[in-house]
Amino acid sequence: MTPEVLLDYRPLWAVLISLIAAVLIMFHGKRPNLREAWTIMAAFGKAIIVFSMIPAVLAGKIPAIEPIHIAKGITLHLQADPTGMVFAVLASVLWILTSFYSIGYVRKLEEKHQTGYFASFAVCLSATMGIAFAGNLLTFFIFYEILTIATYPLVVHKRNKEAIDGGRKYLAYTLIAGQLLLIGIVWSYVLAGTGDFQPGGFLAGAAASDTVLKVIFFLMIVGTAVKAGVMPLHGWLPTAMVAPTPVSALLHAVAVVKAGAFGVVRIVGFVFGPELLGELGVAAILAGVAGFTIVCSSVIAMNQDNLKRRLAFSTIGQLSYVVLGAALLTPLSMIGAIFQIVAHAFMKITLFMVAGAIHATAHLDNVSQLDGIGRKMPFTMGAFTVGALGITGMPLIAGFIGKWNLALGALEAGKPIYVAILIISAMLSSAYLLPIVYKAFFKKPSLVSHHDSHGEGHHDHGEANKAMLIPLVMTAIISIVLGVYPNAGAHLYDFAVMAVQGIVSGQVIGGGW
Amino acid sequence: MIKEMLSSRVIYWLILVMFMLGPFGMILQKNLVKKIMAMNVMQVAVIAFFLVLGQKEGATLPIEIQGLMGAVNYINPLPHALMLTAIVVSLSITGVALALLLLVQKQYGELEEDELIRRMNQ
């Protein structure tokens, strides 16, 4: 089944709208309300554009723009295929919620450089959209690098030494990765004469030895896995948590790391294709690394006292689920991988927003200080509980669906060891997330520690302000809704299935959730 | 003897030696005026090279003499014409170089390179 390609400029507009907003934001730095209005309008506009494409894509069509020639033989190509739609829908929905949350957060904390902050944010979203809709490797790369650069001002937002060092580390990792990816892209372009993503891969027919293909795979995967935080390439992620929480929330739970994970899916499914990778045997190595990351990061997460760092390591582990799913190469595992992108985004963003809300309202950053905070901020911590349970893989919350498919995929691939890893990981994540819930609700607050660290006056805080509270409750609710009806609203699960069907070219996918 | 030498390859070797003396002097001499001299030696070597190219045995100046016909009897005038230009160029370079040296001397009171660099970095 080759899907019909529809000439449509909506993918381009989805990219451009936040870029235009970024310019407007820069010009209205002196008028905060107008500036924020642009953010909100662009966020809604983007979501409307993306959602308006859902029916067409569901009907098996692919809205795509007329390719723009940007370099000899290579075009800038944007198309909304099912895989891209999953990511685009996700990012556009979450941008709306994070925008409100950001406004609440930065105003509460009276952050400086707000104009640059919102502008960079908007550029990041453009880049994310571009990555989602990229129709070939060069387009993907261009937006991938824009994302790297646009994130940098957000990472160094605080302008202190820690932030600058974090920014350096972030750039060192991501720029080097970008260059490796570039080599891989040029090489595959020279071999295959094209860079267009094709379900099932385009490198299969290329006249190249296995060794060359393995090297290309290695280059590309390293290039994308750095952003996805696969160990041992994860070093930048915890450091980059010095950024303000909404940044961590959207970028380090959704945009940047997911761009990496999404890149892995693209490379496995659309550049090499499962068949070729099966022959080369390199995917098994990737799966091994991902499995190692899952377990290892969870163990490290248990030892982190800083809440955001703990969440960061949890992110590293959870993202490797996506990489693992792609690397197992079976249809079910790939569906699991794509759906895990969605599920983890909603759950982890909830957790990050909670961490930010606690930081902004109660001025607490460490897990050990959270005793009894659930009594003062019941809604916030309620949302946290939902997110935490989802991460552990509790049924009826979105995370379960991805993991269930992954487990089935692992069995299908005849590698039950990964089922074991999934179970261990679930237990480990319960071990590092659920104690927080327990402390928050069932332990008595220890006033001493509050006074020690922050002087007086902070223990009489109440619930977080509404701009922060409503988005985080909504993401928690969406996590539950997606857990019960994975197709609710945007048909994300259907898209995942369609995408994988394209990759395995119509092979019947049995079972699944 | 000399005539033979000049019409054989030896002259080219001489020119080459002269040419190489230029960079040699520019690198080894620490006095800036001597550097300019070395530069001039190098330029003169190239000028001589061109002139030798235009030479021909038994030919005369490229000014038409009554009754003497045929290109064989005249030396090639083109290299001479070119070298007039080259001499002008080399003259102006020398001029600019000396002007710069005057300024250097005025600023630092020194034309020995080592001492000059030491004074500049003070």
Binding site: H69, I70, A71, K72, L138, F141, I142, E145, I146, T148, I149, V156, R159, A163, I164, G167, R168, L171, L175, I176, Q179, L180, L182, I183, V186, W187, Y189, V190 | F19, G22, P23, M26, L32, K35, I36, M39, M42, Q43, V46, F49, F50, L53, L78, P79, L82, T85, A86, V89, S92, I93, V96, A97, L100, L101, L103, V104, Q107, L116, M120
Partner: protein
């Protein structure tokens, strides 16, 4: 009139240059306006020539109606035409920018400055359009001589830098002349087109090999190829800013063009000695990329960083020429264009920062982005382009170079190009950190804050701001429209007509 365009292109700046010192007796303003008008006219001439050449092919203009090989011929092909446009445009921008630099100068000094500037331009233009190898030497020395004087006008240390450049540059010129001597000896002609035909049977003779070697060595010095780059850092650093901008943007590119012209068009890059020469150029180009980038990281002064970076970037051009296939050459030519635009933009930014804060050291210009927001935005764009981040122009030259290197199977070049991008990132992000992120502390910071708050009007005089912004925007425009530039212009500039 249209028929005489190639002559006008040279004559307008040349004659205006002669008139400038005289005009300066009347008024300083008048000199400036005349110089600007002359360069603008040259821009139009160049554009006119390029459009005609693109539609009708190479334009053979005979000076005084003398047929070659007796007369001097100007042969403008698309390559020369495009380069002429670039030269006139960048120099025009630099001349606009030069106003604040010359603010306090006496009238006479102004007159001389503009005269020299126009002479440089005329020399560079002559080098590109001429079809005669000896004529090229004359123009080379015209442009060099006036540049020495211009550099020397930058102050105390600039004088010595200029002297050093003069010595080394003259060696380069003399080497080139020696090479021309050999070529003339074996072919008996100085006309490029004529020579290209006559030299074919003689390719492997010792004379031609020596000629190639000395021409490459001579032009290598002028384009600051590693390890012949010794003159470059000082000359770039101490020259007045508009002059730094044109030496880095244009002066070191034109010799690269001469090498390209001689090796690919005149001698013909089939095999044998030319191929070997190209291999050598590629290797030292690659070494220069690494050396220049590392040295740039070690520097503390804004302009010095840019100087070493220029030396690295000229290596890209050398590598592209050495790769030698279609993509490699496109990459090299495209990079000539890109680097001219972005590096002159960067130098102008450095000059603007110095003008505003009085500082060149990058650890003393903290938070200058607050004072010069638009300027520093242009800086960001140009810096990203230097690092090679899409969608700026620098990315695409890198893309073509890497593509060419892959096709030719020249792996070391790929590694070098990629590595260089990362090294560029190191020093540019260091500048970005200092100028955007770090703050001054204590009372100094408060005074600074106050200054920023109370500052009114434009951040820079318009004569500085406009060129910076135009060039900054140019980096983006070239990047986005690189497909047009390559398919409409650059591909016709390749030997054999491109694709």
């Amino acid at each position: 009139m249209m028929e005489q365009l190639p002559a006008l292109l040279i004559l307008i700046p040349l004659l205006t240059a002669l008139a400038s010192p005289l005009l300066s007796y009347l008024s300083g303003r008048l000199v400036r306006c005349t110089a600007l008008a002359a360069l603008l006219a040259a821009v139009f001439c160049a554009v006119g020539i390029l459009t005609r050449v693109l539609s009708e092919g190479t334009w053979h203009y005979r000076f005084g109606g003398w047929e070659p090989p007796w007369g001097i011929e100007y042969a403008v092909d698309p390559l020369a035409g495009a380069l002429a446009v670039l030269i006139t445009f960048i120099n025009f921008m630099a001349l606009i920018y030069a106003k604040t630099e010359m603010e306090d100068a006496t009238r006479t000094k102004k007159g001389v400055f503009y005269a020299l500037f126009l002479l440089t331009t005329a020399g560079l233009l002559g080098m590109t359009v001429t079809g005669d190898v000896f004529n090229l030497y004359v123009f080379l020395e015209i442009s060099s001589l006036s540049t020495y004087a211009l550099i020397a006008s930058g102050g105390k240390r600039a004088i010595f830098a200029a002297f050093r450049y003069l010595i080394i540059g003259t060696v380069g010129g003399t080497f080139y002349l020696l090479g021309v001597g050999y070529l003339y000896a074996v072919t008996g002609t100085l006309n490029m087109a004529d020579m290209a035909v006559k030299i074919q049977p003689l390719l492997n003779t010792p004379a031609v090999i020596v000629a190639i070697a000395s021409i490459v060595a001579g032009m290598g010095i002028k384009m600051a190829l590693f390890p012949l780059h010794g003159w470059l850092p000082d000359a770039h650093t101490y020259a007045p800013t508009p002059i730094s901008a044109i030496i880095s943007g244009i002066m070191i590119k034109v010799p690269a063009y001469v090498i390209f012209r001689m090796l690919y068009f005149v001698i013909g890059a089939g095999e044998g000695p030319v191929q070997q020469a190209l291999t050598v150029i590629g290797c030292i180009g690659a070494a220069g990329i690494i050396h220049g980038s590392i040295m740039a990281i070690a520097q503390k002064e804004f302009k010095r960083i840019l100087a070493y970076s220029s030396m690295a970037q000229i290596g890209y051009v050398a590598v592209g020429l050495s790769i030698g296939n279609v993509y490699g050459l496109i990459g090299a030519l495209f990079h000539v264009l890109n680097h001219a635009v972005m590096k002159s933009c960067l130098f102008m930014v450095a000059g603007a920062v110095k003008w505003r804060t009085g500082e060149y050291r990058i650890d003393k210009i903290m938070q200058v982005s607050k004072k010069l927001p638009l300027t520093m935005f242009a800086f960001l764009v140009a810096a990203f382009s230097m690092v090679g981040l899409p969608p700026t122009a620098g990315f695409f030259s890198k893309w073509y170079l890497v593509l060419g290197a892959f096709e030719a199977g020249k792996w070391p070049f790929i590694v070098v190009i990629i590595l260089s991008g990362l090294l560029n990132a190191v020093y540019f992000f260091r500048i970005i950190e200092n100028t955007f992120l770090r703050k001054k502390e204590g009372a100094e910071a408060e005074a600074e804050e106050k200054e920023i708050q109370t500052a009114t009007g434009l951040e820079l005089p318009l004569t500085m701001l406009v060129p910076i912004l135009i060039l900054g925007a140019g980096v983006l425009i070239i990047g986005v429209s690189n497909q047009q530039i390559i398919s409409q212009v650059i591909q016709y500039a390749l030997p054999g007509g491109g694709f």
